[in-house]
């Protein structure tokens, strides 16, 4: 029997038992759907982390000199204890890094984690939970901030500890409706009065999180309100990506000198770039990518065993049909092909339904939650291959049993 005939026959059998076929395939559908959906979400988040978060948090072509690494969550207790004994990052450190990197686009000092939040008021208008950053003027360059209205913070603002601020777009929009109207107005932040100098253009949302709900204060003013904090960070922006790595090592040297570290002594600071965040994320997804195959493998094996059982049942039910076909000249290969093609068609269909289910699931997730999803071709290919492979693996035994049946024995079966 030609392959096409076997395939057509398989389709007829599968379609004539729609419900049974569906339940047979449930294991495959769920496993493959899970695979596709989770991979889509991880891939989507990967792309997002790379394209948005890293740039938004640190800035492009930028790195940071920090007391604690960004990825502190991955350290063990002992490492955390050592890090907690490190000295703070000071203005002197920032100046030293600035001198070591004359070609840097900007070297800034900024208040670090945890960023305090405050109500911001203008007359009877109020915006809650606005993030308050204390920064030096170059920070605005590091972050690639563009001003839709007014002017950036300046060095005299820092030196004279002025009560001025720059607003994130969302805050200005909520308080004044039009950013231009905000300039020169007096607003209240953390219970003190500030004059608005500028409004920063919209950066948009990442993972459902607005990056425009903040207010920038001169670092000196910030510290007089919130105190001098241990988490101050130096941000450095280079002119292009290739300058980042050499810049990082020169900054490291400058910091070692500034902290008077002897050769062989360990750094008491960390030089991190945005990649550290991406790296952190990558480590997380690596863990996921080792867990997922295990879960999917279990699902597929269970699904495969179900398929094998149903196929054995089907061979049993259709013993007489097999006898009839053999009496008419079907060879062992014909019968084996018939049942194998049926198993493969069935399980590939399961793979396809699983891809559809996973696609729908991923879209639902990205619709109702901030998690983005990105369906990748390779996960679809893997899913379909898994489906077909399961059919082959678990279809061989039932098909071989069907093929081995003796014609007269098969015909006598009721």
């Amino acid at each position: 029997m030609p392959f096409f005939e076997a395939w057509r026959l398989a389709f007829r059998v599968i379609l004539s038992n729609k419900l049974r076929s569906f339940f047979t395939l449930l294991g495959i559908i769920v496993s493959v759907g899970f695979l596709v959906a989770v991979v889509a979400i991880i891939q989507g988040m990967n792309a997002y982390v790379k394209e948005n978060i890293a740039g938004a948090v640190i800035g492009t072509n930028a790195f940071q000199v920090r007391r604690t690494p960004i990825t502190i969550g991955l350290l063990d207790d002992e490492q955390v204890r050592i890090i907690q004994r490190r000295p703070r990052i000071t203005r002197r450190d920032a100046a030293a890094v600035g001198r070591a990197l004359p070609e840097a686009r900007a070297v800034a000092l900024q208040s670090g984690w945890p960023t305090p939040s405050s109500d911001v008021r203008y007359r009877n208008q109020r915006v809650g939970d606005v993030l308050v950053f204390g920064v030096t003027p170059p920070y605005q360059t590091v972050q690639d901030y563009r001003f839709t209205a007014g002017t950036p913070l300046t060095d005299p603002d820092i030196r004279e500890r002025r009560y001025v601020c720059a607003l994130g777009f969302e805050v200005a929009d909520k308080l004044f409706g039009n950013p231009a109207l905000a300039i020169g107005r007096k607003i209240r932040v953390a219970g003190r009065e500030f004059t608005v100098k500028g409004v920063i253009a919209q950066k948009g949302r990442v993972l459902g999180q607005s990056f425009d709900g903040f207010v920038l204060l001169p670092l000196s003013t910030f510290e007089s309100i919130y105190g001098r904090r241990k988490t101050t960070v130096i941000s450095v922006k280079m002119n292009h990506a290739e300058a980042v790595a050499p810049g990082m090592s020169r900054a490291e040297e400058a910091m070692r000198l500034a902290h008077r570290l002897r050769p062989g002594e360990e750094n008491d600071f960390t030089v991190d770039k945005a990649d550290a965040l991406v790296e952190f994320w990558r480590n997380l997804t690596r863990v996921l990518f080792t867990v997922i195959p295990a879960v999917v493998a279990i699902g597929i094996v269970v699904g495969g065993i179900v398929i094998m059982n149903i196929m054995l049942m089907s061979v049993n039910e259709r013993t007489r049909e097999i006898g009839i076909r053999k009496s008419l000249g079907a060879t062992r290969a014909d019968i084996r092909r018939q049942f194998l093609v049926e198993a493969i068609t069935l399980s590939t269909l399961g793979g396809a339904l699983g891809v559809a289910a996973g696609w729908i699931l991923a879209n639902i997730v990205s619709y109702v939650s901030p998690l983005p999803a990105r369906i990748t071709l390779w996960s679809v290919a893997v899913a379909l291959t898994l489906g077909a492979g399961t059919g082959i693996l678990f279809g061989v035994y039932p098909a071989t049993r069907a093929a081995r049946l003796d014609p007269i024995t098969a015909l006598r079966r009721e």
């Binding site: 007489r320 009839i324 009496s327 008419l328 000249g329 079907a330 060879t331 014609p407 015909l411």
Partner: protein, 232 residues
């Protein structure tokens, strides 16, 4: 022997049931010539079905030789046997053995599917075979939409469609009423008149009366082998 379709020598078939040996066939030697119409008779359990199944390559002998068209079938492997069933033998069962989900046409096409014929040729030949048994207008019916007699006609068309050298029928009227049985027997007579070699198992005497030759089995042995009238 000239022009022999089938030749057997000391053909035997034993079954092992627990510790008991059942000799369903013992040393059956006979020959069937082209265009013969042979009826096999005998009491129930005498080995008629066993003999027909062995001749039809559905069952294998445990001893002796079986030659079909000059080829020794009793030495053939699985693949060659499938080929013989497909091309040389048309088998009609008492219980019809049609595929219940398939239409009459598709049931009749089936041997040609395994014979590797093109879809066009399959359709052509299956239509022709159904017309020969008077079912040209029932091609798209499924078995459950056909009467017993019509089902058996479909089965006969299926047995004929690959133009076998021999048509075997095991009590083809066993499940039919006497009027329908008469019609089915008419179909066999017509096929024989057209030159088809036929071996038919029955235990109805009036059916045997139409045959050229009656072989009677008893306890797995040939008890008698008679020509009832000279060839027409």
């Amino acid at each position: 022997m000239p022009d022999c379709v089938i030749q057997t020598r000391e053909l035997s078939r034993e079954y092992q049931l627990g510790s008991e040996h059942i000799h369903a066939l013992r040393d059956v030697s006979f020959a069937i010539r082209r265009n013969e119409y042979v009826v096999i008779m005998g009491p129930s359990g005498s080995g008629k079905s066993t003999l027909l199944n062995v001749i039809g390559c559905l069952d294998s002998p445990t001893g002796g030789e079986y030659w079909l068209n000059g080829q020794e079938v009793s030495r053939m492997g699985d693949l060659a046997l499938a080929r013989v069933r497909n091309r040389e033998i048309g088998f009609v069962f008492q219980t019809f053995n049609l595929l219940p989900r398939a239409t009459a046409l598709h049931n009749v096409e089936l041997p040609l599917v395994y014979g590797g014929h093109s879809a066009r040729e399959r359709r052509l030949r299956a239509t022709e075979a159904l017309a020969r048994v008077g079912l040209a207008d029932r091609m798209d019916h499924r078995p459950n939409e056909l009467s017993g007699g019509q089902r058996q006609r479909v089965a006969i068309a299926r047995a004929l469609v690959s133009r076998p050298s021999i048509l075997l029928a095991d009590e083809p009227t066993g499940n039919l009423d006497s009027a329908t049985s008469q019609e089915i027997m008419q179909v066999f007579h017509r096929l024989h008149a057209d030159g088809q070699t036929i071996v038919l198992v029955t235990h109805e005497l009036d059916i045997a009366a139409h045959a050229q030759r009656v072989v009677t089995l008893r306890d797995g042995r040939i008890a008698s082998d008679e020509r009832t009238r000279s060839a027409a």
